[in-house]
């Protein structure tokens, strides 16, 4: 593998947090003697990201995603560990480094709140020293893909969340950084806006080979954008690898949904239930003529189950579904699947 764009080694960030005592008496005690404990927000994580990669970084709330991003963008100084990103150590060469990155924090904007977005773009052009020609050219591209021209002259506070996010993305990419950090870029957006943002990210990744590291709660972001996924919880990296592999290894439950040809078949299906129960399978009615069976693909063969159904009843339609990725991630968070992934 060529030299990675981001190399993180044993990155650790500890915070000292104040532990409050309970109740009124506890509150009074806290005034005089404070008890502190160490929060391991990020605990010894290591990874590398290659140029042009799009990596999804997921984890439950408080897992350490934002802290990692803040260290990678030079805002926070780690307690220990090393980061070399774009050949810089972010917190040591911060001002030079941030000229080579773009950052978008989903819930906050870097645009001036009360002023038209174009003013912010002009300010950023001066801060980053972008030439007028490059500026015009990029604004043209952003407009083509993001369609921002119509509201460039509207005060930012009057923009919808989706419009603002598009402007924020454009602002982060105005200096054409090779590396883009996105902290929850699609949070709170509607389906159309999400789609717009995802298309744009794919476009700049293809056109400029921009490397993207994005944190998200929306797994559709990951499925549509990222080939690689990193899962963090309690400050530790639980999984780092291709999304496909995660599915392949952890996909345990499958579901067969079938629609009966007529109501006559319904009685025959109910007769099938005791036999299914013997195999620890449960028949769930969806509506009068539709039923669903969930099964563990490691203990039940999909084809055997289908044969069993088809031999018992006449079926009009049949559908086999994988467990949604959310369910897999939930199990990883719960600690169940950890052994299976790392094995």
């Amino acid at each position: 593998m060529a030299e990675p764009l981001i190399a993180v080694r044993e990155l650790t960030k500890h915070f000292r947090a104040f532990r409050r005592r309970e109740g009124l008496w506890g509150g009074i005690q806290d005034l005089f003697v404070r008890r502190y404990h160490t929060v391991r927000a990020v605990d010894c994580i290591s990874f590398e990201v290659a140029r042009g990669d799009m990596v999804g970084y997921i984890g439950p709330n408080g897992a350490g995603k934002s802290t990692t991003i803040k260290m990678l963008t030079g805002i926070l100084v780690p307690t220990s560990g090393e980061v070399v990103s774009n050949r810089y150590v972010p917190w040591r060469q911060r001002t030079a480094y941030v000229k080579t990155i773009g950052v978008v924090f989903g819930q906050r904007t870097q645009l001036w709140w009360d002023i038209a977005a174009i003013e912010s773009f002009k300010l950023l052009r001066r801060i980053y020293g972008v030439s007028q020609r490059d500026f015009d050219e990029r604004m043209e591209l952003f407009n083509q893909v993001l369609g921002i021209r119509d509201y460039l002259h509207t005060p930012v506070r009057k923009l919808s969340l989706g419009e603002r996010m598009r402007c924020d993305l454009a602002a982060a990419l105005l200096h054409n950084p090779p590396l883009l950090f996105l902290d929850e870029p699609t949070i709170g957006l509607d389906v159309v806006a999400k789609d717009h943002i995802r298309k744009f990210l794919r476009a700049i990744n293809e056109r400029y080979q921009t490397t993207v590291l994005l944190t998200t709660h929306d797994l559709d972001d990951i499925e549509e954008l990222c080939r690689r996924i990193m899962i963090i919880d309690h400050g530790r990296l639980l999984y780092d690898g291709p999304l496909g592999l995660l599915k392949q290894k952890l996909l345990r439950t499958k579901m067969v949904k079938f629609a009966l040809r007529d109501s006559e078949q319904a009685a025959r299906v109910r007769a099938l239930a005791p036999e299914l129960a013997r195999q620890s399978l449960e028949l769930e009615p969806v509506d009068e003529l539709t039923y669903r069976i969930r099964f563990d693909r490691t203990s039940v063969s999909t084809s055997a189950l289908i044969q069993q159904i088809l031999s018992a009843v006449e079926v009009r339609d049949l559908l086999i579904e994988d467990e949604p990725i959310e369910e897999i991630v939930k199990r990883i968070y719960a600690g169940e699947a950890l052994g299976e992934v790392t094995a």
Binding site: K70, V103, F105, R108, W113
Partner: protein, 401 residues
């Protein structure tokens, strides 16, 4: 390059503030309107109230005096008095403000005057009530005149020269220049206002630019920009100081306007007698503003540092509001008559500037103190700025959990 970045940050914050209605109100509208409304308005209202009390005749009650018909007749014709016959419930009448005062004339009053014996009248009043006070003054004037007339009559009857009535006439002449008189009267108040305003003017932007930025979560986004933290905090500091100085300058303009307006008003209310015209030299104004400059640096950086420490706008507010008293107390102490500048006080921040501004307003320049105060204020200002810059580089402060 570095100064360019400070300039960019400063310009950004300035543009931002000028678009923010709250800043505009606290920085421009309040100082411009506060003094005219407060001073001209209040003195106009006071003038109106006093004028009305003077125009209306005072209802007074006469108790006794049945054997002094001459005095009673004269009293009824006295200007500004509406004399009512005595009633035993005069105390209640005064308390309920149905009458303004009552005068008790002892038996044999007129006879005593006639014979040259000393006698007395007693006036009942409602202390602190303006209209009662006016009634009393009118009664007093009547009896003083009566006393005078009686005296003259007795002197004339005994062929004594009138000069004996008042053997010595005391005259006084003011040697202080109008500037000194005006400065002594208002200098303390003006330096108090200037100092307080240089703080309050900085307060709102300091909260918005540090704690507000934290609360909005935009601190992360600005820390991601290729502007060093020192330049960020310096740009913010310059903006806060601009607000502070703008507030002071605008207040000075509006204060000047108010005094001018007051002078006009006093001329209009001719019965007030000769009015005190505003007398203040441009030199004094320039000197005071010069001294306020390092103080504005001090306030701006100190407020910015405290606001930077706060997690939210509300927290910053609860730190900064009590701080107003910390500023008011030395400013009030300086206003108290008798507090004079000495070497020790010249080193106490805020108090020193207040004291020396008061002196400058009266046209007195103690150059030694002025230099000491300017230098010490510069040191305090620089120290506060240094702390603000250092705090802005500390992660525990910027991201205080």
């Amino acid at each position: 390059m570095s100064l360019r970045n400070v300039g960019i940050v400063y310009r950004k914050e300035l543009t931002d503030s000028l678009r923010d209605r709250r800043t505009l109100i606290s920085m421009i509208l309040v100082p411009l309107l506060l003094f005219p409304v407060l001073m001209v308005g209040l003195s106009y209202i006071a003038g109106e109230v006093i004028g009305e009390a003077r125009r209306q005749p005072s209802r007074v009650m006469v108790l006794g005096g049945e054997d002094s018909p001459g005095v009673l007749a004269a009293l009824r014709q006295a200007p500004g008095l509406n004399v009512l016959p005595g009633r035993p419930d005069y105390v209640d009448q005064i308390s309920e403000k149905r009458i303004r005062a009552a005068v008790e004339i002892p038996p044999g009053f007129e006879a005593a005057l006639e014979q040259g014996n000393q006698t007395a009248v007693k006036i009942y009043m409602y202390e602190g009530d303006l209209k009662s006070q006016t009634g009393v003054e009118r009664l007093q004037k009547f009896f003083r005149d009566l006393s005078d007339r009686t005296l003259r009559k007795h002197f004339a009857a005994r062929h004594l020269p009138e000069g004996l009535l008042k053997p010595i006439n005391i005259a006084q002449k003011n040697v202080a220049s109008p500037e000194k008189v005006w400065g002594t009267l208002f200098g303390g108040m003006i330096s108090y206002m200037v100092i307080l305003l240089s703080m309050t003017g900085a307060m709102y932007p300091a909260m918005d630019l540090a704690a507000g930025e934290k609360e909005r979560g935009t601190i992360e986004t600005i820390l991601c920009s290729p502007v060093s933290r020192v330049h960020l905090v310096l740009g913010k500091f310059l903006m806060v100081m601009t607000a502070s100085l703008a507030t002071v300058a605008l207040s000075a303009i509006s204060l000047g306007g108010s005094f001018y307006g007051l002078g006009k008003l006093a001329v209009m209310q001719a019965d007030k007698g000769p009015s005190l015209q505003m007398a203040i030299s441009l030199k004094s104004i320039a000197a005071v503003l010069m001294l306020v400059l390092p103080l504005a640096v001090f306030f701006s950086s100190a407020l910015l540092a405290i606001s930077l420490f706060a997690k939210s706008y509300r927290e910053a507010q609860s730190y900064l509001t009590p701080l107003t008293f910390v500023v008011i107390i030395p400013a009030v102490v300086a206003m108290l008559p008798g507090t004079e500048l000495n070497t020790k006080l010249a080193l106490v921040p805020i108090l020193n500037t207040a004291l020396v501004s008061k002196e400058i307003m009266t046209g007195t320049y103690h150059w030694k103190y002025i230099a000491m105060i300017f230098a010490s204020s510069c040191v305090y200002g620089a120290a506060a700025l240094f702390i603000a810059v250092k705090l802005f580089q500390r992660e525990e402060v910027l991201f205080r959990a």
